[in-house]
């Protein structure tokens, strides 16, 4: 077998610090003070540099990739897992030559194409036809190649009758389909897929996965990054786990995913509120933490849909509150409500806890097993007294993943519509 990708001691350093935190909240006051102090800071840093000619200290930098080495044979499909900031995207960027490594080398055999860059270089004023040519050229296709594949691209995108309409008049779905159709026909030797499943409707996602499967079957090399463990399991034979820029595990996918989920590497599954995050008008209510816990009580980012999930909200009351209800909204990542529930929804519970004394509280609920479908869900929180006052609300306090391994219907590798995936007791009756 020939090696498609060989990475040796790959490292990438980024500068961090004030520049990246600047204007996080975009307040005019911040912008003004920052603007007027900029020359002073610049002068200071210049003065500092001349008196201390050493390189900036190590703490101003972060190693997004740290000594990553691996080989990938031609025709293999490799999954890449790791929490946000583990270096997955940086790795793909280095492999696709968007950014240079700080240390180390990679040799890449063949053209690298990516399904992340759908629509890159699309211009809204140009027609679908014009954008196919433009986008194809941006992705590195020859004009003759685009001409040859043109009809195929249009068929695949299903926008045939609008092909001479400017794409700014397209619906977002049409736009995405056309963009994806071009990217999918690049036919690179190495295909890189990063979180493409996060965009588009279910049908589109199914198409993406199908295309990826095709590409893999044609014997081309695929690198697949996703937070969706079931997609990783379904599509890859082998996976690597990244942690803080380091490659800490390479194993057959099932083993790598188990390692990743069980080692606590996954996202924290916890949201903490500091004093700065709470508006003054929330008093006397003071949120402390919101947690997602698995069956064993461990705080996790990824829960299994076949197991019950505990949602826990910890908070403090600095003064007694009457009529209080503390609860949550569950949303899909496409901002569809799944349900809304409060801790005093039960009339008896409300009688008992409607008036709460000052103190430290936990409100917990258990979402039963076989409830969630696969994907990412978002939790919003709300603490209020009905028709009196809303103390605190955060529409998107925390998000978590659901892994559907073992859920009903998973013997068919397809995406199921809808936010819930109940285990129903089907009765099948044969009528004579």
């Amino acid at each position: 077998m020939t090696i498609a990708i060989r990475a040796e001691h790959l490292s990438k350093r980024y500068r961090i610090g004030a520049a990246q935190q600047k204007f996080q909240y975009g307040m005019l006051r911040d912008v003004l003070t920052d603007t007027f102090t900029a020359p002073v800071r610049w002068a200071k840093s210049m003065a500092h540099r001349s008196s201390n000619p050493q390189l900036p200290t190590e703490k101003n930098f972060i190693w997004a990739l740290n000594d990553v080495s691996f080989d990938l044979e031609e025709g293999q499909v490799l999954g890449i897992v790791g929490r946000n900031g583990a270096g997955k995207s940086t790795l793909l960027k280095v492999l696709s030559r968007v950014t240079e490594p700080t240390v180390g080398t990679v040799s890449v055999r063949g053209r690298v194409g990516s399904l992340l860059e759908v629509g890159t270089g699309f211009h809204p004023e140009l027609t679908g036809r014009e954008n196919i040519f433009l986008n194809g050229a941006v992705l590195g296709m020859k004009r003759s190649e685009i001409e040859r594949k043109f009809d195929e691209i249009v068929d695949f995108s299903e926008v045939g009758q609008f092909i001479d309409t400017p794409v700014k008049r397209y619906s977002s779905g049409m736009y995405l389909r056309l963009a994806f159709a071009v990217a999918a026909h690049l036919e690179p030797e190495i295909l890189v897929v990063d979180e493409v499943l996060a965009v588009g409707d279910a049908e589109f996602q199914r198409k993406c996965l199908g295309k990826m499967g095709d590409v893999a079957q044609q014997g081309r090399t695929v690198l697949f990054v996703s937070h969706n463990m079931s997609a990783i399991l379904r599509l890859t034979q082998e996976a690597i786990v990244l942690k803080k820029g380091q490659l800490i595990k390479r194993a057959p996918t099932q083993e790598a995913v188990d390692f990743y989920l069980s080692s606590g590497l996954a996202e924290t599954g916890e949201r903490l509120w500091g004093a700065d995050d709470i508006p003054a008008m929330a008093a006397p209510f003071k949120p402390i933490a919101l947690r997602v816990k698995d069956r064993s009580g461990k705080v996790v980012d990824t829960v299994r849909s076949t197991e019950p999930v505990t949602i826990e909200w910890e908070y403090q009351l600095d003064a007694p509150v009457t009529g209080l209800r503390v609860g949550m909204y569950l949303n899909t990542m496409r901002a569809e409500y799944v349900f809304t529930a409060f801790d005093t929804d039960d009339a008896k519970q409300f009688e008992q806890f409607g008036a709460r004394q000052a103190g430290h509280y936990f409100s917990r609920c258990i979402i039963p097993a076989d409830f969630f479908n696969e994907g990412r869900y978002s939790l919003g929180v709300n603490a209020s007294s009905f028709a009196v006052r809303r103390y605190f609300m955060d529409d998107n306090a925390l998000s978590f993943n659901v892994d559907i391994t073992g859920a009903p219907g998973t013997q068919w590798p397809e995406a199921r519509q809808g936010p819930v995936r109940p285990r129903l007791n089907w009765e099948i009756e044969k009528v004579e």
Binding site: R97, V98, R109, V112, T120, L134, A137, G140, F156
Partner: protein, 282 residues
């Protein structure tokens, strides 16, 4: 879909940190020549979209400037135009000047306004400023039609040497514009101050270039210093080739040519050196 066999042997790319003086890799740009073509084509297609007057703007802009100049410098200030009717005298200079300014404006923003391309896919970054500079040639060609009409009107007949001289001076204008554009576009990735400084830069540059006035007002001992501005050489060259005014190629022209090449080559090296950080800092 049809499964196509890859007929050619895939090439292997080695990715490693670049050290020392950047190599120019101009062959990369040649490999991506079709992308340059498509970016120029996109710029042109999009430029006057959703405007009422469309490509007429390419004519309106220099013609209006010419009329204003005519009023102020010819009507009020009575500036010498070397015996050539002032409207055609200034319009001849406004053509390469307009090309130059549009090139700087478009190219300096070319990287930042295409940041999604820069941060997501690989292609030689030089494609963007080069395409923005070259796409100005279409506007140049359109506004050139007006010049021909003016020449008929004022009965100005250029000598035969216009056939070789004009393309060469046009090339010099592009070289000068590209050199400055490379510097500005690369700096703009990190310091957006360029966006704010550029209007002043082009304004001062206009005064330092014999567009509204004749280079003959510069005293001979300052001529060489004056021609450090490559656009001075371009504008004098245009006037000489088209209107037969001025002295024709002389030492001052070679100074302009030398400076243009120096700015272009240094711009290329600077751009290549900064290129590797574009995706991280943009």
């Amino acid at each position: 879909m049809a499964i196509q066999t890859v007929s050619h042997e895939p090439t292997t790319v080695y990715i490693k940190p670049s050290k020392g003086l950047a190599t120019l890799h101009l062959r990369d740009l040649w490999t991506y020549r079709e992308l340059v073509f498509f970016m120029i084509w996109r710029d042109i297609k999009v430029r006057y979209k959703q405007t009422m007057l469309g490509a007429a703007w390419a004519i309106i802009q220099p013609v209006m400037t010419m009329l204003v100049f005519n009023f102020i410098f010819n009507g009020v200030a009575k500036v010498s135009s070397d015996g050539v009717p002032y409207p055609i005298f200034s319009y001849t200079a406004l053509l390469p000047w307009g090309l130059f300014v549009a090139a700087l404006n478009n190219a300096s923003r070319s990287l930042t306004s295409n940041s999604n391309m820069v941060t997501k896919i690989y292609f030689p970054r030089l494609v963007l400023p080069v395409a923005s500079v070259l796409s100005g040639l279409v506007d140049f060609a359109i506004s050139f039609v007006i010049l021909i009409l003016l020449m008929f009107y004022y009965k100005v007949t250029p000598a035969w040497n216009v056939l070789w001289a004009l393309p060469l001076f046009l090339l010099l204008a592009i070289v000068a514009a590209l050199g400055v554009a490379l510097w500005l576009s690369a700096i703009n990735v990190q310091y957006r101050d360029v966006n704010y400084a550029l209007p002043f830069l082009t304004q001062f540059w206009l005064f330092a270039t014999p567009v509204a006035y004749s280079a003959s007002v510069i005293s001979p001992k300052w001529r060489l210093v004056y021609s450090l501005n490559p656009m001075a050489g371009v504008v004098n060259g245009f006037r000489w080739a088209l209107l037969g005014s001025g002295s024709g190629p002389d030492a001052a022209l070679w100074v302009s040519v030398g400076i243009s090449l120096l700015v272009l080559v240094s711009g290329l090296f600077y751009f290549r050196g900064m290129e590797k950080t574009f995706a991280d800092t943009i």
